[in-house]
């Protein structure tokens, strides 16, 4: 991915295999060339707020949606979510929480912090493909972003 300002989907995922499967799901719908993977919460925040290695990125061109795994090393998914939702600049950026289990006690906390939706990663690969590509299509094509 050369142009960081053209990224439409930011995937925050520490498991490279889950990331690869997600990209494959999105590729089937020609969405894969606008994806960027952040491997932990700190990198995700640097990307969104144009800091550190991403200081040359244009802050005015945020991704259209963030797929956020809640279980992350360093800075947790909930902390990333909180940073995004408490800054007036990034508050309206859609965040979809991706979790392995619907038993997750963090689901409730994530909704309190203002997450836009959540998706449980199915074990069954066909279901996984459907879940990821539908979510990507919905937020990129169907959802009308909030006008600033």
């Amino acid at each position: 991915m050369e142009d960081l300002n053209a990224v439409e989907i930011l995937i925050v995922e520490d498991n490279p295999q889950d990331a690869e499967l997600t990209i494959r799901a999105l590729r089937k719908h020609n969405l894969a060339n606008k994806i960027f993977i952040a491997e932990d919460g700190a990198e995700a925040l640097d990307f969104i707020f144009c800091k550190g290695n991403y200081s040359d990125r244009d802050f005015r061109k945020p991704p259209k949606v963030v797929f956020l795994d809640l279980k992350l090393p360093k800075i947790s998914g909930l902390e990333v979510l909180n940073e995004i939702k408490s800054d007036p600049f990034t508050k309206s950026l859609p965040v979809v929480m991706i979790t392995s289990s619907r038993e997750d006690p963090d689901i409730k906390k994530a909704y309190e912090l203002g997450v836009n939706s959540y998706v449980v990663k199915p074990v069954n690969f066909d279901d996984f493909l459907n879940a990821m590509s539908h979510t990507g299509l919905y937020w990129l094509l169907v959802n009308e972003p909030q006008k600033k």
């Binding site: 498991n15 295999q17 889950d18 499967l21 494959r24 707020f49 144009c50 200081s55 244009d58 802050f59 005015r60 279980k71 408490s86 800054d87 007036p88 600049f89 979790t99 392995s100 289990s101 038993e103 997750d104 006690p105 990663k121 199915p122 074990v123 069954n124 690969f125 066909d126 996984f128």
Partner: protein, 710 residues
């Protein structure tokens, strides 16, 4: 980026809005910081107000954007930055430096990379500070600096204006308070005065007065302000008399005299008036302080009457009074005293009082008298014996006063009463007391003995209580251990579902990719193996989900309600009809008794039992399932019977275990959790489960629920 036009627009916008906010610096700060951050795009924008009133310089935080960060900022750091900014003028850019100047270090601490500090000055005087911290857009720093410089002038004027306004308001408020305080103080003094106060003009019209005046005359303040001084005073009750009085007065000099005032009811009372002529706001007025002297007058009258009463008092007093002269002889013996000792009024009592005193008591009496003569301020009281006319000793209690120096008395005054009867009673009481004390000692000993016995018992009881406390502590510990175990279990299930599912997802995902992308390379056997890997991964996922729902059952609370079993079972069967080919001949529902329980969980029991029955009878062409219930003593018994493959009663004890299966996968699919869930739910309802079966003939599953619902 069109920074210049965006910021030009901001300047116009700011000019339009901030002028109306001059009298509200807080709102101004909030507005400006948010607006600047919106256009410049950075981590923080902060506005300080530089206050140098009363020679004391302080920095007041006027606004910060984003506002949520307000609590994050370290006030000390900001104030240090504000202090340090005095070293430079005009907008200054600071760039990422760990070991730079003090201000660079401070900005680095805040996470700022490219930051601009703009001191706000009005006619060379510092009025505030604008700080734009960590600008994201580093390509347009110069145009941002220029634009911020352009608005800093307007901002400085606004801050200056608001500071001047603020200072003026504070000054006005302070002065107003001083004036009103002094007026309040004066009014309080006047109102608290115990004298009535009147202020009147030279015609006698009352201009002002106080609470005491209203109280002593019975008028309200409003009524008094309509009256003239001549209406109140019985001596100066005409204007002419008052004019005469005023002629005698010299300005600013007190004139005191006695007069008589009239109460609203018409009653008059004597007063002392202290009057002055004073100059109030350029006109002469009369101020009068009036004191009610009724009591003083009355006291004077009393003293005159007292002398007359005195004689009568002594004559009529029930106590005896005797006056002894300086020489030690009887000077006066009151009628009561004579009567006490058996003398008539006319009989003369001769000799010296010490001759009448009991010889045993005499030394004490003489000693007291000696001391009294030495120190006349004492009024000693002693009891002693005195002989009466018949020669009997009478006990008397006497109080001595030395009035030898008083020219109207010149005597030792002895005031006494006969206490002979009381003395006898006292002796008797003291005898009784002695007896009583003896009894008390005996009883006390007895009580002490009893108390010792009780203490022994109590110690035994305390030991028992201590044992109980220990037991209770143990229980408490067990309980908290249980709570910890429960929490650990919850964390465990969460981690099981998370961490076990991730590798399964990878297995199923990558095997699918293999099948999709390498379809040409793989032969039939290769594809078969891939499919086996895939289906096992899916099955493992199913196992994890079942295990989790089983552990959820253990933890969740029961919500009891009355259950319509027939309705419940029919709804379960109608759900199955869509997925299995069932007919009414296949399933017979007999009478089902109503029960009390958690309807969601009981529904799960029926789902598991009926789906098992359908599954294990699916190979019988004439499959038949019977569902029914009956009442047995205090229990309600429900059952599901089928004519399917059945099971060997030898393995019946394994039926309800988790992951226990009596059939292999090729025969019938399943994870082996269904019956374990049934048992768990029914046990939690205080019921029982059991099964009967025979290989090839079918199986019957029974469960019970408490039968108190009838």
């Amino acid at each position: 980026m069109k920074a210049n036009s965006a910021i030009s627009y901001m300047i116009l916008d700011l000019l339009k809005n901030i002028i109306s906010m001059a009298d509200n610096p807080g709102e101004l700060g909030k507005y400006i910081t948010a607006k600047i951050r919106e256009v410049v795009v950075c981590k923080f924008v902060i506005l300080f107000f530089h206050n140098n009133n009363y020679q004391e310089i302080s920095h007041e935080l006027l606004g910060i954007s984003p506002e949520q960060k307000k609590n994050d900022i370290n006030v000390k750091v900001w104030h240090e930055i504000a202090e340090a900014s005095h070293e430079f003028h005009g907008p200054t850019l600071f760039q990422h430096k760990k070991n730079g100047t003090r201000i660079e270090q401070l900005l680095f601490q805040l996470g700022g990379k490219d930051s601009i500090i703009i001191p706000l000055e009005f006619t060379n005087q510092r009025v505030g500070l604008l700080a734009v911290i960590d600008i994201f857009d580093t390509h347009n720093l110069q145009s941002i600096i220029d634009s911020l410089d352009a608005i800093s002038g307007v901002l400085a004027i606004e801050l200056r204006n608001s500071s001047v306004m603020q200072n003026l308001e504070i000054l006005v408020a302070t002065r107003t308070k001083q004036l009103s305080d002094s007026e309040k103080r004066f009014r309080t003094i006047i109102e608290q005065a115990t004298d009535a106060m009147y202020l009147s003009d030279l015609e006698g019209n009352i201009i002002d007065t106080n609470q005491q005046a209203c109280k002593s005359l019975g008028y309200t303040r409003e009524e008094l302000l309509k009256l003239k001084f001549t209406d109140l005073d019985a001596r100066f009750d005409s204007t002419e008399k008052m004019q005469g009085l005023l002629k005698k007065m010299v300005p600013n000099k007190n004139f005191t005299f006695e007069s008589v005032h009239r109460h609203k009811t018409g009653n008059t009372f004597p007063v002392e008036i202290s009057m002055s002529l004073i100059d109030l706001d350029g006109s002469n007025v009369v101020i009068g302080f009036v004191r009610d002297i009724s009591e003083r007058k009355e006291s004077e009258q009393k003293i005159i009457r007292m002398g007359q009463h005195y004689q009568a008092l002594i004559e009529k007093a029930p106590d005896g009074i005797v006056l002894i002269s300086a020489e030690g002889s009887f000077k006066f013996v009151s009628p009561a005293a004579r009567k006490m000792f058996g003398y008539t009024n006319n009989e003369e009592i001769t000799g010296n009082p010490s001759e009448y005193t009991h010889p045993e008591d005499l030394p004490e009496v003489l000693a007291v008298l000696q001391e009294l003569i030495h120190d006349p301020s004492q009024i000693p009281t002693i009891t002693y014996r005195f002989i009466d006319r018949s020669g009997k000793w009478r006990w008397i209690e006497s109080t001595f006063s030395n009035l030898l120096a008083d020219p109207s008395v010149e005597a030792i005054v002895i005031n006494f009463r006969d206490i002979t009867d009381r003395k006898l009673t006292e002796e008797e009481i003291s005898k009784l007391n002695e007896e009583l004390e003896q009894k008390v000692i005996e009883r006390t000993n007895e009580l002490e003995k009893r108390s010792r016995e009780l203490l022994d018992n109590e110690a035994a009881l305390l030991n028992l209580v201590e044992d109980l406390n220990l037991k209770s502590d143990e229980l408490q510990r067990s309980k908290s251990q249980l709570e910890i175990a429960n929490r650990e279990l919850e964390a465990f299930s969460y981690s099981v579902s998370h961490d076990l599912r991730a590798p399964l997802r990878a297995i199923s995902g990558f095997v699918s990719i293999l099948l999709e992308d390498y379809e040409q390379v793989l032969d039939a056997e290769g594809k078969r193996i891939c499919n086996i890997v895939y289906s096992n991964a899916i099955k493992m996922g199913q196992l994890i989900d079942d295990l989790l729902s089983f552990s959820r059952l253990i933890r969740s609370e029961l919500h009891h309600s009355r259950i319509d079993m027939e309705g419940l079972v029919k709804s379960v069967i109608s759900d199955f009809e869509t997925t299995h080919r069932l007919t009414q001949e296949n399933i017979i529902i007999q009478k089902l008794l109503k029960a009390v329980g958690d309807s969601n969980l009981i529904k799960q029991v029926w789902i598991n039992l009926i789906s098992n029955a359908i599954k294990y009878s699916s190979k019988n062409e004439n499959a038949q399932i019977t569902i029914g219930s009956y009442s047995n003593q205090n229990e309600l018994v429900y059952y599901v019977k089928d004519n399917g493959v059945g099971f060997d009663m030898e393995y019946v004890h394994k039926l309800f275990g988790v992951f226990q299966r009596l059939h292999n996968m090729n025969e019938f699919e399943g994870t082996g959790v269904g019956l374990a869930i049934v048992q768990r739910i029914i046990n939690r309802h205080q019921g029982r489960v059991w099964a009967e079966g025979e290989v090839g003939k079918g199986a019957s599953f029974y469960f019970t629920l408490p039968g108190n619902s009838h």
